[in-house]
Symmetry: D3
Subunit: 312 residues, 6 copies
């Protein structure tokens, strides 16, 4: 197993056309979930990945599990919950503005994830553990699960990659900042977006954000900068890595998760950090020109790795 990740995936409903959701008449069903995005992107890039979660024992739970399994991700540790439901959410599109998101995830099956749901022998086989800042916001047991996995990773000397992914619909800035800072410093690699870095550190520039986060066990930070690319910082090397040029941005959702997948893919292939960040930038860019989170991630055999352009 190359990478194991855990978190909540949901069914996403998006209307056919932009505008306020109350006027939408037709909705399409899609998959949403940062961690499964990463697992799927990694699987397409040729890596063995596992996704751990809880889903409702309902139609939407089967949809989520089968979609992710269909992408080649190992879902053997997904637990079907007879008591709680698979979460759903709705996303209204407003051209030129942030999407309008409505979650129905309180008391969802995934929010009941707890340390007992984690199979140590399974987790211990992964080269990398990928965690996000969404999971600890879901419930106290989810938060405990994250800490439990951090302990296991320490015990098994696994590298932990952390994407803060702050969702202010789920908790307050203060609580998010406290908890995520604490988690971040127990992770070896931290991949904040610049806004998240600012929120976590109180600093403004990528340089300062990165320096602040390079503490505890954290030896590498990459600050994601959207169309400006990313900023790579280890204790002894720091550098801006420009983005791939994308002419038609359709939907930015999934770019950050694509970055994480590309970056880990680089590391798994033995690329150095710079090359891995470049690969992260490329996979992030692939997410942009398609509506939906995972639809844009490329298969490794369709990519021309000598070519800086996004090929599809």
């Amino acid at each position: 197993m190359d990478v194991i990740t855990l978190g909540e995936s949901m069914v996403l409903f998006t209307p056919d056309s932009p505008g306020p959701l109350r006027f939408a008449t037709n909705f399409n069903k899609k998959l949403g979930g940062a961690e499964s995005n990463v697992a799927i992107a990694l699987s397409r890039l040729g890596h063995q990945t596992g996704w751990i979660s809880r889903l409702g024992s309902d139609e939407f739970g089967l949809y989520v599990r089968n979609f992710i399994r269909g992408e080649g991700v190992d879902t053997s540790r997904v637990i079907f919950d007879e008591q709680n439901q698979t979460a759903v959410f709705f996303k209204g599109l407003n051209p030129g503005q942030d999407p309008n998101v409505f979650y129905y995830r309180k008391h969802s099956a995934a929010s009941q994830l707890s340390p007992e749901n984690i199979d140590e022998s399974y987790v211990s086989k992964a080269k990398y553990i990928h965690l996000t800042g969404i999971t600890p916001a879901l419930s106290p047991t989810c938060r405990e699960t994250i800490y439990h996995v951090l302990d296991l990773a320490k015990k098994h000397k696994q590298t932990v990659v952390f994407d803060p992914n702050i969702r202010l619909k789920l908790w307050s800035k203060e609580e998010a900042s406290d908890v995520l800072s604490d988690i971040a410093k127990q992770c070896h690699i931290v991949l904040p977006g610049i806004d998240e870095g600012q929120l976590l550190t109180g600093n403004d520039s990528p340089e300062e954000v990165a320096n602040d986060l390079l503490q505890g066990d954290t030896h590498t930070v990459v600050v994601k900068l959207g169309e400006k690319g990313s900023f790579l910082a280890t204790k002894d090397h720091q550098q801006y890595v420009p983005a791939v040029n994308v002419s038609h941005v359709v939907d930015t959702a999934g770019a950050g998760d694509g970055f994480a997948a590309g970056f880990m893919s680089g590391l798994l292939r033995g690329f150095d950090y710079l090359q891995s960040v470049e690969l992260g930038n490329r996979i992030g860019a692939h997410a942009l020109s398609v509506s939906g989170d995972v639809e844009g991630y490329p298969y490794w055999n369709k990519m021309n790795t000598n070519n800086q352009e996004v090929l599809r």
Copy 2:
């Protein structure tokens, strides 16, 4: 005001085509809610109705309020809740079987309805109060609200019409039976479906069900019998009232609510009980040939009341 009702309405998502929901790709947005069904049907029949509820201060809350208001129902007492969301639900269609329903209504705005949300001066103006057995299943405060409204109705000498509407996805048979029996006997008119009557009384036949329910303040019971019509029972008169013949049944949802509306419409027009039940049967029949709960209810001016046939 002719009738005031209160309860939860939700956004309903139904797929384009029948089959398990996990394979559906396109969903349509509709309105769902037994009490708003009754209010809408009554409004089309020419009566002044008010619907009391709480909705999330979100896109779906506006959709629900505007739809119901658009139908001519007074929504001036609807409260928009900044903390809790408008509920949604999904309904999978399986030809020849019961639909497969998934609710996302726990902790919804409507479940926070409480006695303080009831404006006594508003409620006291109605000739009839309409309640259903769904509301007390939603939360303790909802249950208190029902009892509070019963008290107000007593104080203002209003007639209360009760539709047990047992939803076993919301509570156990035992709890439902206890609570609803207690409520029923404080209501003047009770309109159970035959299954509900059986569950509430432990009896089998419409006659026995009706006799059992004719207790406390209850002076009239109509047992709804689907394609067999209904059974009318007062303390001194009992009679089967045959259904209108409907050749193409598309969707039975909303038939019971249509019955309640037709029956109350009859009473409001000064019809006797038998005529009112006949009108109930006719409005119930109108709901059957259209997908959606409220789409089929007729406008009074499109109905030929001398004609036993369903006209549209």
Copy 3:
């Protein structure tokens, strides 16, 4: 040229799903028009047909012309009107009931059809002239046009086939009955539905209806009887001709026009009247199992004429 017909064709909008039109959100665009139905059905059966009309010089006019031309019907005499529009109509489907139709055809381009629009040398080349009772209801000039064509047919000794096609949304029973009776007796072959025959003659049975219509120039009457088939009457021969058995009736629109086409196709092939009526019944039956007027008419080479079953 085998058959020339003239009349109005319109764009038809039908909702995706049944129910009152005010709740429909998606509409499909189709072609509607009794005379073009006949022309199209005849063309598929291998005959040369021409359709004369006026259309608005607008997008919908091009749609109608191109659709009909695409079916192989000669549209060289269609006039594009810069002043008046192509008509549209909407059809709401109510399972088990008649569709709910809303026309927007007043002052349409076709209603401006007048005798000057008729090219005598073109019309005179046809073996059969097909007229319907819709055209004289559209406007005084349309009515004049019908009488003008009757004169031309007389002059050129052509057989005129008349389908009364009474549309009570367009005129009163009295006016329809007066005008259409007068036209009918100048036509050689009259093809009423049984209801129309009753309205025109005041009689009940197919026999009486036919006898009454066998006057003036009319030597042959076929009364269409829906699932009971049709009743053929000439001055010296009368006979019921049973319908083809159709298990799934989806949409009855277009059956009568299919009958007319099949019947004329038989005559054009040299079939006797009975065989021609049988072919009419078969083509009528083909219209039933598909939504839309013309979609179901068969191509001659897909029909097995020895086989009484509807083949497709």
Copy 4:
């Protein structure tokens, strides 16, 4: 009542995808009508508004009435016409060009609006009367109705706001110019688009247009300038008011009506003219990023009035 407006609303059909309408296969149903746009926008901004009109007693009439009523606009004076139909129109979208519009509104129910349909006691209660230049183009009785309402407003000393809204599909430039100039000078506030101002006055610049229109009873003119904002002119003050910056313009329909609503909302709130124009500009801008006329108008409680940016 804050504002009363009167005019025609129609059902609008737009295709799913851009291109000539003859190739479109799926159409969506929406609401169209300048005056109801204004009433709806005002209602969302928190004002009591009434909309007077005639609708066909048909499915589309109910759709239009219920939609507008659902938005909180008083429709108690809408008359359902048993004789004439609700109008419809079709709009083809051609990227980068003006939409291609086809009306079916001749002899519509609304075109039969006449002075007797106006309830003086109702109209007299409004602080503002809103009129557009579309209504007088619909029919002679509609034109009389406008003059009748002007008389009533004079009698009851109400402020009349006039949007010339010239529709050259309905009448000639000459007739439009004559009639609308005459009406404009009887209105207190005139809100022409720059093109309309040019047509009415024969002048080019906003300054000249405004000066010319400041005659008769007209004391305030605002010339709408699209992305350049608007030009405010009273007898003693004139000023350009820049537009809100909108990055993604999806559909400009409804911007002018949003401006009128925002401007009147300002006046109703006691804003000065400049502030009211600024609010007009903001509401106009909200209409741009959504397809459909009314979908984009904001609710007052979702707007941050200290913020010049369009918030949604």
Copy 5:
């Protein structure tokens, strides 16, 4: 591994609404393929299954592989072909008639399947081998592959289950009959539809068909009889097994494959032949009430095995 099957799967396009395909405007994408149907149905029933095939290295190949993999079927032996494409087909629905099917599968990737593509060590692990009569019709190399697999099964003493599945669009009756008879007698269990049995044996009754097919290695025959259920025949026992009663038949496609899966599931669970046929009947019935081949197959944990009714 419980069952291994091999064959071609394709992308199926079906129109939104019934009628001739030339008038359809919207098509939905689905999965089609008898062998993957069986594999998916078995997987839902709780068995480990593998599906061997070739797919084009194209979007549709990924769709097919991911769909099947998502259902829990092992696809590790699927070969992506850079030269040849994934097949597609179109299915027009005509109510009350057989669907109209158009294949685009000549020279498809799957038709290039050849003995070298078969991994003996993989195949040898299965308890059952499932083959259909479609594969040998695709190409000479496909036919060789079937014989090669029969040889491997013999060598490894595996039970072979054969569904003749005669497709007359792919080859002539004569060729089909010759080849399939030869294959059938090398298989232990043969599951013909009654029509297929008639074609293979020249006999009429289920009894005669079964007796004729009980030759060579064939020790068990089940003749599928549609709504009449099935006829089970071993050398010493023969019996009709009635079908489950299904009130709404939506789409019969996939019933035969569901039967095969249910029957094998019974054998794998240690059921006797009769019980296995009963389970086959039940799973076949599940396929009928949903459009699409695989959408209706049930999960084992949703079935109440004590209940003869189809539960879903």
Copy 6:
């Protein structure tokens, strides 16, 4: 007859929304085919055109024939093939990238086109013959057919217009270059895109490409340069002709075919070469703002020929 062209037309399926085809759920049916594009565009411009081809005797063949016939193109020489199918193809849209195209045209009916299918008396009546480089790539008999038509054109002294239209999915660069160069020099007018010109001649600049192609019978070359317009070259005159400015490019498919039609339309109207190229540029520009190949071509009576702007 003004122009006769011959080649393959196919049914094109495009998804509702951009992104990889494997995630698309709804597909729309359209027409595709370079030669029928040219014939349709010419017909709309007022010219008599004929399109020769073979189609499968199936639903899609009827769709293609009827669509093209509906556009006014003579299809009397289209042959329906009982053995081979009408081709289909799928086109995935990726914003900002080339579409992803999948053909199912091997062994199609059109690929069986052969010299015997060409009716000399029909072909000899055209003023211009239009050929493309797609046809010779389809099969040896198609290639022979092209040479046969070239011979007929020579015999009847007709002008041949050739669009190289190189499709590298159909053959190799080398084969394409050899065959097309040979054909080009037998044609009087050659209309390559700049890429095609480069591939055929090995040169870079429009000037060099044109000079190289001005050999054999070729007396005029126009190199199409996309948004840069085109380069006109005869033996004694060479000139760049700027494109029409198009603000919103939706779909570039069909631009080259529109150019060819506009150019030939000019020649047929007696325009000089420069004017004809200008008309070509204008018609090419019309194709750009609409999705689909032929949807954007204008009708002659909707064009203001004095106006350089694209009018629609």
